[in-house]
């Protein structure tokens, strides 16, 4: 009498998904790494030192996991949220007070804070172990861009609740763009960019205007930041993550003594 487990594991459905027996012996532990889409990011084997938790702190992995958490909770939040001045704040209120399992926004916000911290810790570890040294120079550069995008994702998301905290934090942050050299209307050199006595860089054409879509943080900004937050930046991050992971493998695997 075969057990239920055996019946399931011998069924055509199961075998069509997992093309080999359970990874309990050496051979199948190798095969599983090669045949599973998600696992094939990993090598089949690695140096003991390179996978020690006290060495890697698992911070890169934790950051990636938090990115996935943010993606899932973010998609769910998008069901409840409309990025317009009429609705943004009330939708958040409804989400807090009337939606069941109302910790979605908490998960998303704390996850974002945590992600910023874990990115820093990951870079801290990579620096302290000298893992940016050849042959991994370029992957460090990709990592720096990912750091920047993480901060930008968090920054653009900060505006979406459309409360006092949100618009003033974004106002303070984006006021800097007003002072961009040449491209901000209060920036050094901007007044040199004139054509026939007409200023090219005004508060309706400078870098800050490009960021906000208006002269101040308003409806256009909310829409712009929403699109950046939900689509543009995450897509960029996804692409760079793929490159980042691929390069870890191509540049010699998890770092260790050369």
């Amino acid at each position: 009498m075969p057990s239920l487990g055996d019946i399931i594991r011998n069924s055509q459905i199961w075998k069509s998904i997992f093309r080999h027996p359970a990874p309990v012996d050496r051979r199948n532990r190798i095969v599983v790494m090669l045949t599973n889409f998600f696992l094939h990011l990993h090598p089949v084997s690695a140096k003991k030192q390179g996978i020690a938790l006290s060495y890697t702190w698992c911070m890169g992995g934790v950051t990636f996991f938090l990115f996935l958490v943010e993606t899932v909770t973010g998609v769910l939040l998008m069901f409840y949220y409309r990025p317009t001045i009429e609705w943004a704040y009330t939708d958040i209120l409804t989400l807090r007070d009337a939606t069941s399992l109302g910790i979605l926004r908490e998960l998303h916000r704390w996850g974002a804070h945590a992600m910023v911290i874990t990115v820093w810790l990951h870079m801290y570890r990579v620096f302290l172990t000298g893992s940016y040294k050849p042959p991994r120079e370029f992957n460090w550069v990709v990592g720096v861009i990912l750091l920047l995008l993480t901060l930008l994702m968090s920054f653009t998301g900060y505006l979406l609740p459309w409360d006092q905290l949100a618009i003033w934090a974004i106002t303070v942050g984006s006021n800097m763009a007003r002072a961009t050299p040449f491209l901000g209307y209060e920036g050094p050199g901007a007044q040199l960019l004139t054509v026939g006595g007409i200023d090219m860089i005004t508060n309706a054409s400078d870098a800050r205007f490009g960021l906000l879509g208006a002269r101040f943080v308003g409806e256009e900004t909310l829409n712009r930041f929403y699109v950046l937050h939900c689509i543009a930046i995450p897509l960029g991050v996804a692409l760079l993550l793929a490159i980042h992971f691929w390069r870890v493998r191509k540049d010699g695997g998890i770092s260790g003594p050369m």
Partner: protein, 451 residues
């Protein structure tokens, strides 16, 4: 939390703080058990359990919620006032630099498990005893500030972990041995399933649990609906940008908000290309790469992190500085009369009025007048970025700069020294402000170039 009497504040807080002390007590108990069973340190284990008992008593005392009892386990007004008067941007910044420097110097002692554990306990006790102050609690328990408290503890832990590994490796290297990561048993290959895959799974489960607890316990902040006419005081950027916002005290927005952040990003990207040291690749070490290590720690821990902590916890209304236990009074006024370098040169030293360009004059003649007015600042700037690096290479023949120049070549050497000089600009500007009330080295308000 203002508008509450102290009793009301305590009764709200006592549950949390009691749990906090119970946690500290149990951690000390577990640590005592670990040191005793694993390392046979009976006396020390006894001391740690003693501390556990003390914190347990503290838990009971705070649970009472009675100010008469709680006052024995919180800082009294005298100590708090003393700490607050000691604290200023100057003492805070220099103090953190000195403390981190001393910790670096004595790292071999400080990383010992029992010493580090004592430090950890002191941090926790300082935190707990300060929490009984309503002004301190108001800032620390603000939902968006909680991650920064977490960041402080995480950084302390991971810095300890990395440093203790580096100390071990440095000793081994000094004895002619390989670093631990390079020993034969560590280089042995193991299968990723199960050794790595399971670690990752456990990390994911633990993190999920942590996130769920965090999300349930702490509600995400939501203030009043956005209003373009009601400016909150202070208006703060998100916490990870508060180091940049703090730089606004010393720099104009084009520097603090655009140029310096760009230099940070460019400098980070440049690290692998200017660090030519082949040692220390793939293992923890400090002695083999002291220069790179100290430069990075100065930029990260001293500048980036301490400025964020200052911007979050110590900057109140009007971006004024407040001590840990001070009430954020929005009417506090700080006198500011900072002076430009050109003012010092022309008015104070030469006794002449500042040259002013004629607004009707041609662009070139305006620039000439401004260049004349700001000549000292401009010369200093050119000297700082262009002449100082070659001078360093000529002066420091043996130790650092000339060997670097020889190995890196002119361009890489100039890039590296210039990046470091950019980093050093902030502390230099801070020092100039504190000692000479210096506002701008170069002040060209005509073209928004204040530096």
């Amino acid at each position: 939390m203002h508008g509450l009497t102290y009793e009301e504040f305590l009764s709200q807080l006592s549950g949390f703080l009691c749990g906090y002390y119970v946690l500290v007590a149990s951690m000390n108990g577990l640590f005592a058990l670990y040191r005793w069973k694993r390392h046979g340190e009976g006396q020390l284990a006894l001391a740690w359990s003693g501390l556990g008992v003390v914190t347990l008593i503290m838990a009971a005392m705070v649970a009472s919620g009675n100010p008469e009892i709680v006052k024995y386990i919180s800082f009294n007004e005298g100590i708090k006032g003393f700490i607050d008067t000691l604290m200023s941007p100057t003492t805070y910044s220099l103090g953190s630099l000195v403390i981190l420097g001393v910790m670096f110097y004595f790292r071999e002692v400080l990383v010992r498990p029992n010493v580090a554990w004592l430090g950890f306990n002191l941090m926790l006790l300082f935190m707990g005893m300060s929490m009984a102050d309503s002004d301190f609690a108001a800032i620390v328990t603000k939902p968006d500030n909680v991650p920064i408290v977490g960041l402080i503890f995480l950084l302390a832990f991971f810095t300890w972990l990395a440093t203790s590994k580096a100390v071990v490796n440095d000793k081994r290297i000094a004895n002619g041995e390989l670093p631990l990561e390079a020993t034969e048993s560590e280089k042995e290959k193991v299968l990723v399933w199960p050794d790595l895959v399971y670690t990752e799974l456990i990390c994911m489960v633990a993190l999920t649990a942590l996130m769920l607890v965090w999300a349930i316990v702490l509600q995400a902040p939501l203030e009043e609906p956005a209003s373009a006419v009601k400016t909150p005081n202070p208006s703060k950027a998100p916490w990870y940008f508060l180091g940049l916002q703090e730089m606004l005290v010393y720099y104009d927005p084009w520097m603090a908000g655009v140029v310096l952040p760009s230099m940070i990003v460019a400098g980070l990207m440049a690290i692998p290309y200017i660090d030519f040291n082949k040692k220390g690749n793939g293992y923890y070490t400090i002695n083999e790469r002291k220069f790179a290590y100290l430069t990075f720690q100065f930029g990260f821990l001293v500048l980036w992190v301490t400025l964020i902590i200052m911007g979050t916890f110590l900057r109140g209304p009007n971006w004024n500085f407040f001590g840990f236990y001070e009430y954020w009074d929005s009417h506090a006024v700080e006198a500011m009369n900072n002076v430009d370098l050109s003012q010092y040169v022309w008015v104070e030293f030469l006794g002449q009025p500042l040259p002013k360009p004629d607004p009707e004059a041609s662009f070139l003649s305006k620039v000439l007048v401004i260049a004349q007015r700001e000549f000292l600042g401009i010369l200093l700037l050119i000297g700082y970025f262009a002449i100082l690096p070659p001078l360093l290479a000529m002066w420091d023949k043996k130790r650092l700069f000339q060997p670097m120049y020889k190995r890196m070549g002119l361009i890489r050497y100039m890039v590296m020294t210039n990046l470091m000089l950019w980093m050093a600009l902030l502390p230099i500007k801070m020092l100039a402000r504190w000692t000479f009330e210096m506002k701008y080295f170069i002040a060209i308000p005509e073209y928004f170039i204040n530096f």
